[in-house]
């Protein structure tokens, strides 16, 4: 089980359709301040079904839609697709490759797809449940938050542990 490809369009600062391919091993993302690196992390969290606009640094979920820039009009929707290699069938589907897509329109309406078949957000979250894929656990270390695990109170830490175990 591994990530294969991430596609973003209209998601935060990624106004234009952008594709990032992930291989085995270590993939580095580099660049100047404010250019969009952490937005890539937000895109992965978002397409995996996070319910919390705070986990993607917004003040409301609509904040993930590209708001425009100097001389560039805002977008009407944000869309992220993540393709995973499922040849070990970590995800309980017969597909060797699974693409999860999440879309949000300015109206607040959302659309969700698994391998291009429409579904509900609930279905995406249930598909991932228990697989260790998902971002409410320790597999995403957010910028400036590495201390959190170590300085959190003993009970929070216990919850993280239980989830891991």
């Amino acid at each position: 089980m591994q990530l294969k490809k991430l596609e973003m369009c209209g998601f935060k600062s990624f106004a234009n359709r952008t594709e990032v391919v992930f291989d085995r091993g270590v993939t580095g993302i580099v660049g100047p301040n404010g250019c969009g690196k952490s937005n890539v992390v937000d895109a992965i969290k978002w397409v995996l079904g996070t319910l919390s606009y705070k986990s993607v640094r917004g003040e409301e979920m609509l904040d993930v839609i590209f708001k425009g820039a100097q001389g560039v009009a805002p977008m009407g929707f944000a869309e992220v697709s993540l393709t995973l290699d499922n040849s070990d069938h970590t995800l309980a589907l017969e597909f060797e490759e699974v693409t999860i897509t999440r879309r949000l329109f300015l109206t607040g309406e959302g659309e969700y797809y698994i391998n291009r078949a429409p579904c509900r957000l609930k279905d995406i979250r249930e598909l991932l449940y228990g697989t260790g894929i998902g971002t409410d656990n320790y597999s995403v270390i957010e910028q400036g938050k590495i201390d959190k695990l170590v300085l959190s109170n003993p009970h929070e830490r216990r919850l993280v542990f239980d989830e891991a175990a």
Binding site: T18, F22, T27, G28, K148, R158, A164
Partner: protein, 167 residues
Amino acid sequence: SRELFEKTFDFVREQFGQIFRKIFGGGKSDLVIEQAEGVDAMEQGLEIMARPPGKELTSISLLSGGERSLTAIALVMALFKANPSPFCLLDEADAALDEKNVERYAGVVREFAAETQFIVITHNKRSMAVCDALYGVTMEQPGVSKKVSVSLSGDGGLDLLKGKGAP
């Protein structure tokens, strides 16, 4: 179940101790289940002990920024050993580290990359050096992100690091 928890806990505790010692080049660390009065065993909090080499044991709050980052990384990797996650996203986890410790962090990432796919965001050349692939994110057009492929040796990579390609 309680047995499964204890088995996993002992394993994570042991791994945490080993990885900590490898990252710090010595010292000692531990995970301890609190023994608070009247609290069910499955509800007890989890304490972390960490003693860098040559130092006396102090509470984890007294550790330095860099020491806490390394301790957190050791714990995350220990949790991965017990329950491997397919991938791990590290967003500037090396921000507080001095050069020597970035090398150690990069070494640990490299080692665990055999079983786990890593995506690492960094401004540091030594972290970049252990990447199999590097993507640059720039904003040639202000406010609009763009992905570029980057190689460490080419000028593009180094320019990206210097903050060029930013509006």
